[in-house]
């Protein structure tokens, strides 16, 4: 507990004005609304810039209404974004068409660059949607929203246990690392990695044993295969209005992009 840094785990959780209207919305409304933004962006062909601009505008308005500072959004997005973009960076070298530019021994094609820009826009919008959901909705609320949206219970349970025990496991890992460091373990090349493998094994066994104990604790309190809910979610007028607003702002433009642009 004390003194243990959770590193990137500190980047989860609510941000901005916790009492904003967006923070107070039903999680289902935010899940559906932000998923809609992402789907509109992802489904457009790479050169439909007005669609991307509209999606970005909706997200910026969302962030402003929730008073989530841009710096916080960037802090969270920059963890996910490189992974999302990794697959796209090779496209300019592989996709042929249009003018070509020489980059050292390699050749970059214009068509490839345009595709990269489109994919980057989609990735950025998708990431920002997810970050905004995380900044305005607590993880337990997201889980309850998913469950209410009929996502299979097993997935929701797996995600719930992951959230609950991630912190416990991170603490265990940092204790094990401290124990290795305390005995002078300083890996300098790949052959020094063996203790890390042992550590991973020990961690797996401990986690497995914990899983069994948690299951016993659940049985002890009458668990019979389903986790009942304390207070059901209420999908109110404001929630419906939010989803309708997102749909009205984006869907006509997206439909238009198919025929006119």
């Amino acid at each position: 507990m004390g003194g243990v840094s959770h590193g990137s785990l500190e980047l989860t959780g609510l941000a901005g004005d916790r009492d904003s209207r967006l923070h107070r919305l039903d999680p289902r409304a935010k899940l559906v609304g932000l998923l809609l933004v992402t789907l509109v962006a992802v489904s457009a062909t790479p050169d439909r810039w007005p669609v991307y601009a509209a999606c970005a505008a909706v997200l910026v308005a969302f962030a402003a209404a929730a008073r989530v500072p841009a710096r916080e959004l960037w802090r969270r997005a920059r963890i996910v974004l490189p992974l999302v973009l990794l697959a796209a960076v090779f496209v300019p070298f592989l996709r042929r068409g249009g003018e070509t530019y020489a980059v050292g021994p390699l050749t970059v094609h214009e068509a490839g660059l345009l595709t990269l820009a489109g994919v980057a826009a989609k990735a950025g919008i998708g990431t920002l949607s997810a970050v905004l959901l995380g900044a305005t909705t607590s993880f337990p609320a997201v889980l309850r929203g998913l469950e209410a949206l009929r996502v299979p219970r097993l997935f929701v349970l797996v995600a719930a246990f992951m959230y609950r025990y991630l912190f416990v496991i991170v603490e265990e890992v940092s204790r094990m690392r401290a124990a290795l460091a305390a005995r002078g373990y300083r890996p300098r090349h790949a052959l020094h990695a063996q203790p890390l493998g042992r550590m991973a094994t020990a961690l797996f066994l401990r986690t497995y044993a914990r899983g069994e104990r948690v299951y016993l604790a659940m049985l002890a309190r009458g668990y019979r295969g389903s986790v009942p809910e304390l207070s059901p979610l209420v999908f109110g007028r404001a929630d419906a209005a939010f989803v309708a607003l997102v749909a009205v702002a984006l869907l006509p433009l997206r439909a238009l992009a198919e025929v006119a642009l």
Partner: protein, 266 residues
Amino acid sequence: MSCAIHATGLRYDYPSGQPALRGVDLHVEHGERVALLGPNGAGKTTLMLHLNGLLNGSGELEVAGLCVGEGPLHDLRTRVGLVFQDPDDQLFMPTVAEDVAFGPLNMGLGRSEVKRRVADALVAVGMEGRADRPPHALSMGERRRVAIATVLAMRPALLVLDEPSASLDPRARRELLDILEAVERTMLVTTHDLPLAAELCERAVILAAGRIVVDGPAEDVLADVEALAAYDLELPAGFDLARLERRPRPVALARVEATTAEGSTA
């Protein structure tokens, strides 16, 4: 409803074939508080898991008026509140309130009743301000108190605690003791913390190598230095049993029956 435990010749072997319980005879009467002492590996946790039907050995075991091993376990589990040693095993829901509600909801109680019980249980352990926190944001002492609330909310007839004071600092330990002293339930407490056993329980039994080997008033059991040493137990140096004051019980135990009866029929 009876809140008693009657174990006669209870035996259990681990799946590896190694015996864990070799004929346990233990009788705990309604309203008693009993400390279950013994060295590591004596079978204490194994015995506790039997009380809730989580393990099923041979021999006779009757808990809270129900014969364990016959009929559905659900009734038994609502009558016996088991508090595990590691609160991180016990608290598995995303927030404190949801975790405390888990047991009562499994009992099939209505939502308004569940909410009342969650609020009552959190007040009983002084955690009413933590309802919406995730368990990982609590201190060890707070997690332990919430773990106790999770079973108090089920209004069990019998409370079984595994090492309740393990890894607590002295202040958290004192707060926990104050909470447990105020709980009006038949109680079985496994512990290596002998001063806690002396303060909380009027009776102590020692389990060693799968059998109950010593059984008597806590003062007598804990004063017998040689018997304690024979089973790898020892009071802290300088601890004076004679100066220990056990606080009087808070409420007449008659009320236990009223609340548990209401709980089991709801």
